[in-house]
Amino acid sequence: MAYGSKVLDHYENPRNVGSFDKADPTIGTGMVGAPACGDVMRLQIRVNEQGVIEEARFKTYGCGSAIASSSLLTEWVKGKTLEEAGQIKNTDIAEELALPPVKIHCSVLAEDAIKAAIADYRKKTGKDENVNAA
């Protein structure tokens, strides 16, 4: 299938590929998808004491759109507070990358990934209720 130029750019030059130490308390890890569905996305965020995402890393098993969605996501979440990052919508990602309808699920997966990473960080730091209340 033909890909849009933004998907191709992220696919060919993926941003922020890599891993953080899962055990590090400042790291939140979200892994979503399943090999059976043909895509697995892992997003990790490093959060500072002010609750701002300083860095993000990803690894994705999946099609070009899935890789591009997660690569774009790492750029978008950097510098955002957890609350701001949690409000990123899959439709924003799909629109930015001009994903065709059959690839919308890739952007949904990316939204799930950041939500899962935030939840993981909050669970680790026990700041669950705090941040929800904020």
Partner: protein, 404 residues
Amino acid sequence: MRKPIYLDYSATTPVDPRVAEVMCRYLTMEGNFGNPASRSHAFGWEAEKAVERARGEVAALINADPKEIVWTSGATESDNLALKGAARFYQAKGRHIVTVKTEHKAILDTARQLEREGFEVTYLEPEPNGLLDLGKLEAALRKDTILVSVMHVNNEIGVIQDLAAISRIVKPRGILLHSDAAQSAGKIPIDVAALGVDLLSLSAHKVYGPKGIGALYVRRKPRVRLEAQMHGGGHERGMRSGTLATHQIVGMGEAFRLAREEMETEAARLKGLRARLLEGLSDIEEVYVNGDLEHRIPGNLNISFNFIEGESLIMALKELAVSSGSACTSASLEPSYVLRALGRNDELAHSSIRFTMGRFTTEEDVEYTIRLLHDKIGRLRELSPLWEMYKDGVDLNSVQWAAH
């Protein structure tokens, strides 16, 4: 932009220039454009002669009598005519059909249609190497079984079913045997007498002929009857009406003639290329060949690169024209049903690439492919969380996946 290297010969082949040249002679006023059914003038007679010559060439490739060849629009139509035609004609005898889960959709979708019409179909599961267990076939046959359809060569993994052995089980019970030979014609020898098939589907465009033309072999001794699916004029002894496409037919005839002459040397050459491709990739970790390597047509190599999703690999291989067993391009997200039927796990089914080489594939093409794959596999695995988990010794089957 430079054109990619074509390694998708099982999808279609380019028309051989020698074939195209012959076809051009049957189109214009200067050429032989007549309707082969016209009995009243030389235009018709000449066209009919050309059609019958081509029929002879197609018959010769499979050791059939020319009278047993019925022209169709391609293997899909041949499969439809064979299955629906035989099922509807012989339904008073029984309404049970046996086929295999790894068949082409032209068979599976036709079988589904027959099920809607009240026929019963058994879909056999092949063994992990893609071949049919003859014991399972025998066990599936019933008193009311009228037809067995088993493809000669699988389009995805290239494995060759033992039709002669299948026939020995099916024929003594008075059951008809059909085979889709779209992927075997011109690649391996076919002898309908020795194989004992009653109906055999053929396509021109997999054999360096044009698209839009095919044939169905229909055995005459003992005579196999079919209910026509296309009416109007009684062409092809009433089995398939419609004005014959002379230029397409002579193209198929010439393509099959060339295949007959060159098959042996070409098969040996392709076998060498495939061995080189496989050898060149064998130093990459976690690479799996799908389907039996021995009982396989020479030009096919279907490989799973574990922990890399097929579609993204194809994207990385844009210098190559290959196909993926992963159907992520469709909304279904289903991996190859053929690989699933072999019992391949989801990761491997999603990670497969089909390389099919043919008449115009060179050694340089293969060497380039090997280098490119080494380069891209490493890069994509760096991106893959599954690869990282594998390297860390995580058992992927033990992970609780958040399926979506």
